[in-house]
Amino acid sequence: MTDIELTEIKNWFETGATSEVIKSNFCSNRSEFNGRLFRYESLLTKSFSNDCLYLVSSSIGEIGNNCFDHNLGFWQDEPGCLFIREKNFCLIGDRGQGIKSSLAKVYTLSPQDRSYIQVAFEKIVTGRAPERRGNGLKYAKKNILTCGLSLYCVSSGEEVEVGDSLKSKFQSLLGIQLKNSGTLTLICW
């Protein structure tokens, strides 16, 4: 990605400003996201053998669909998620309510918890109670580690890392602190 495109992604996340790179990678609904994920397989096959190919696709699917599952009624502007698909990384982002706001409705942090985003990736707690849900991010974390990938997720000023640290890479790409409640997830391999 070029520096200009990265700036446009940052601007979109913080302000909702659209541009060509945003329009061409924006999924207005989950069917569009799932279709792009299906077509991403041809690129992913260059990096992964069968087992990890399907585990990675499945994990990206969980993270992308979370954008739609947890933000209905809470979009800041146009509903949907940004899905950047590159050879060695993917970026999934939404301008929704954020993990903290979603989880805080049903879960109170204990002294052992570092943050809501950490809870989301490590505990079976759902932001959609009373439905019995909330295993998608734990599943993604397990697969990311199994396949030797790295993940960095930022939401509402909170962050979580899985695998090798991507924080400095993320910050060099998109800046030190993004100002928005929405969620951005970077997965690298």
């Binding site: 989950r30 799932n34 994920l37 299906f38 069968n50 087992d51 990890c52 399907y54 585990l55 696709s57 499945s58 699917g61 969980e62 669909n65 739609f68 599952d69 079976i124 019995r132 849900r133 295993n135 998608g136 734990k138 599943y139 397990k142 697969n143």
Partner: protein, 90 residues
């Protein structure tokens, strides 16, 4: 009763799609006569998520005890991992 999951697609990702599949299974495939046990056949499924699977199993387990549900052809890594995740929290 055997249900071929590939007939719902080979990329089974979202909860709403899983919910739709669950309703079809409940209303059109499982009948009082055949709903005593079920085999879920994952042959040719490429990508499965816990979200899709959870919706389907929640519906099936309402009428068929988990001990009477069998899972066939689960060698695909995402099928295996999703089953482990969903069944571990049931």
């Amino acid at each position: 009763m055997k249900i071929e999951i590939k007939k719902f697609g080979t990329y089974l990702i979202s909860r709403p799609e899983g919910r739709d599949a669950a309703l079809v299974i409940r209303n059109q495939i499982l009948t009082p006569a055949n709903a005593r046990s079920v085999e879920l056949d994952f042959n040719e499924v490429k990508v499965l998520t816990p979200s899709w699977l959870d919706e389907v199993l929640q519906e099936i387990f309402k009428t068929i005890p988990p001990t009477d549900v069998q899972f066939l052809n689960t060698s695909n890594a995402s099928v295996k991992a999703s089953l482990e995740m969903v069944l571990s929290i049931k």
